[in-house]
């Protein structure tokens, strides 16, 4: 299954096929990522949107091979730079992580080791891949990187500790470490969620500049659809471990086709189309990933399929559709019908 939105694109920077990740506990097996496939073009900015427990962070960690026991990647391919990195040992993956594919995490307060200087932590990112590097040269590179993420007095600040930096500054440091070796793919898991809105805007602007300069493709994982609109080219909506709708960014806001995408958009208080009266909330709660229903995982909450037997019995396959704002791949039995309706 291919869910690229642009068929004419060159070789993808990252190509994920049928990726599944499970957490095996005594009582139950949690299916955090279920058979996920997508392509990421060079310099593409893909937003992965989902609520907590949808499996979006597990997807990020699975791609990086950082799922810790009792979790494990149960199957699938992760093609990066012409090889399947899902087949590599942890040690072999070490030379890929940080160099070809890098990670930025949500909470800058905890993403840095509190008892090591900023400089040591940045140098560590470089030295992990260039063991022969001289100390002075590494330090110079680290200072350049700090300058690159717009931190002034970089040379002095290398010797400071994380608690001497504000939240926004710490996130800049984490970004500096991630771009240290010019990775071709950057995975940013909620990079601005813990920041104030004004700081968030600055960090997004910084990411903009860096990914353009370094020609990096970005996977931005977030629960905030507004940020997807402001940063991404394409978007994948994740629900219960699956990508239920994948499309260009305009499609999702103009004609969301999966009923979950539509409901998710509708229940965000949206100043631009503010309605009085109750928000159209989604009934119920996300399903338990250890005991999923046999049909569509969204069916019990779905305004369209709640009462339709097919939705409860049969898991929907991906449907490639073409909406008014571009093509999309939607895992819903009614994808075509809903697109026809939207186009009318």
């Amino acid at each position: 299954m291919t869910v690229t939105t642009d068929a004419s694109s060159p070789d993808p920077a990252l190509s994920v096929r049928n990726l599944s990740t499970v957490y095996e506990a005594k009582a139950a097996t949690v299916h955090a990522v279920r058979d996920v496939s997508f392509d990421l073009r060079p310099m593409e900015r893909l937003g992965i949107v989902g609520e907590s427990g949808s499996g979006k962070s597990a997807l990020a960690l699975s791609i990086l091979g950082l799922i810790e026991p009792p979790g494990r990647v149960a199957g699938g391919e992760i093609m990066l730079g012409g090889r399947d990195i899902a087949k590599l040992s942890d040690r072999e993956l070490g030379s890929v992580r940080g160099k070809e594919i890098a990670l930025v995490l949500q909470d800058p307060a905890t993403a840095l080791d509190p008892v090591k200087t900023i400089g040591r932590q940045i140098i560590e990112a470089i030295a992990a891949h260039e063991p022969g590097l001289k100390r002075s040269a590494a330090r110079r590179r680290a200072a350049e990187l700090l300058g690159d993420v717009e931190i002034s007095h970089a040379e002095q600040r290398l010797d400071e500790y994380p608690h001497q930096f504000s939240g926004g500054m710490r996130q800049r440091v984490v970004i500096a470490m991630a771009i240290a070796l010019n990775p071709s793919v950057l995975i940013a898991d909620e990079p601005t969620t813990a920041l104030d809105v004004t700081t968030q805007a600055q960090v997004l602007a910084l990411l903009d500049r860096l990914v353009d300069e370094h020609r990096t493709a970005v996977i931005l994982i977030t629960h905030n659809l507004g940020i997807v609109s402001e940063f991404c080219d394409s978007v994948a909506v994740m629900y219960a471990g699956r990508l239920v709708e994948t499309s260009g960014v305009d499609h999702i806001f103009e004609s969301p086709t999966h009923p979950y995408s539509e409901a998710l958009l509708a229940c965000v208080p949206n100043p631009e189309k503010l309605a009085q009266g109750p928000l159209p909330a989604i009934a119920g709660y996300p399903p338990d990933l250890s005991s999923l229903p046999s049909g569509c995982a969204f069916a019990p909450r779905c305004p369209v399929g709640r009462d339709i037997p097919q939705c409860h019995q049969e898991a929907p396959q991906p449907h490639a559709v073409s909406g008014p704002a571009g093509p999309a791949v939607v895992e819903c039995h009614f994808a075509e019908a809903r697109i026809r309706e939207a186009s009318r």
């Binding site: 104030d196 809105v197 700081t199 229940c267 100043p271």
Partner: protein
């Protein structure tokens, strides 16, 4: 006494009908903050600086601002969960400062609080029903049977079944925990509830459920809310009037429509412009707006003049902004703003947007 008038005369949303249920006048809060480490030098830090505002019966007043603006401290001062350093808070005409602890406890029945983190505020060893029952017990309401009946009714009100009532907090999802937190506060049938970021920890789909629930309870029980949030979209959706806080001061206060359509303070203008909205064309939108300089300042080093001056598009470097703290003043439309050049930032922005299109 222009500041005292805020409470006494004006409340644009309710047209000043009746006396305010809650009135804070010239409220300040200073903490003695110890330096970092085990034994730093302690020094006073003013977290709230001369706040005056009123809450009318039946309305929802929003308090919005970024981290360090003092909104949560303000909420606690309004309930006298924290003692004030200066100023007064009147609830229904009663000066909270004048009450002893027993009288205050009795009054708390009418004044409740819902916390941000639903999990941290629930005792893990108690069942949901016990948690909701406890406030009734503390205030000596009803006998055992009546209390447990009231608790179950309240749980039902917030959408939880008696079976839910037997479970402990860890068995609930975030949204359900917040429902328990709401049930615990509302079971006493309070008149005013302070909601401190009640939906910030929740997913959007659950957030919508909880906001709807709060709305419904407000309507049914005739409640007054003080709603604290950093999420401007939520504030715009939920509140009748909104106060914008920056470094412990109210910089702007107006009814919802006025504030969000025509913000006058440069900080409000920036804050509103950077909120990402989930509609198409976000990248163009973001590229067109001017970046906001610097990060949120700190009350530890409050600028001597306007607190926003170091980051302000309009006033940065201007002598009057650096030297004088602008008073919170009302315009003809009842729109309060603390700025030497109100409206200039909004005008500049509108001009820029017009030029673009």
């Amino acid at each position: 006494m222009s500041e005292a008038e805020i409470g006494a005369t004006s409340s644009p949303a309710t047209n000043g009908s009746g006396p305010p249920i809650l009135l804070a006048e010239d409220l300040s809060k200073t903490f003695s903050v110890r330096g970092r480490g085990r034994l730093g030098r302690s020094r006073p830090v003013t977290v709230l600086d001369g706040i005056t505002l009123s809450v009318q019966r039946g309305e929802s007043l929003g308090l919005v601002g970024e981290s360090g603006c003092g909104k949560s401290t303000l909420a606690r001062c309004l309930l006298r969960l924290l003692d004030l350093s200066e100023g007064t808070v009147h609830f229904d005409g009663v000066d909270l400062n004048s009450l002893d602890s027993g009288e205050l406890r009795a009054l708390r029945r009418r004044l409740q609080f819902v916390f941000q983190d639903p999990f941290a505020s629930l005792d893990p060893r108690m069942s949901a029903a016990q948690i909701v029952e406890e406030p009734l017990e503390i205030h000596g309401l009803g006998d055992r049977g009546e209390r447990s009946k009231m608790a179950l009714e309240m749980l039902d009100e917030v959408g939880l079944t008696p079976e839910h009532g037997r479970r402990r907090p860890h068995a609930f999802s975030g949204g359900q925990r917040q429902r328990i937190g709401i049930a615990r506060a509302f079971v006493l049938r309070p008149e005013l509830v302070i909601l401190d970021e009640p939906v910030s920890a929740l997913d959007v789909s659950v957030q919508a459920q909880v906001l709807n629930l709060l709305r419904r309870l407000q309507r049914e029980l005739g409640l007054t809310y003080v709603f604290i949030t950093h999420d401007l979209a939520v504030a715009e959706y939920f509140c009748d009037r909104v106060a914008v806080l920056y470094l412990g001061q109210v910089v702007e206060l107006a009814d919802r429509a006025t504030l969000f359509r025509r913000p006058l303070h440069p900080y409000s203008v920036s804050l509103l412009s950077v909120v990402p909205t989930p509609v198409a064309g976000g990248r163009k939108r973001r590229a067109s707006r001017p970046p906001l300089i610097g990060e949120v300042g700190s009350v530890v080093e409050r600028p001597p003049g306007c607190p926003f001056e170091p980051r302000c598009q309009v006033g940065r470097g201007r002598a009057v902004c650096q030297g004088q703290r602008p008073p919170l003043e009302q315009d003809a439309a009842g729109h309060w703003v603390a700025c030497h050049f109100p409206g200039e930032a909004g005008a500049a922005k509108a001009g820029a947007a017009g030029g673009d299109s």
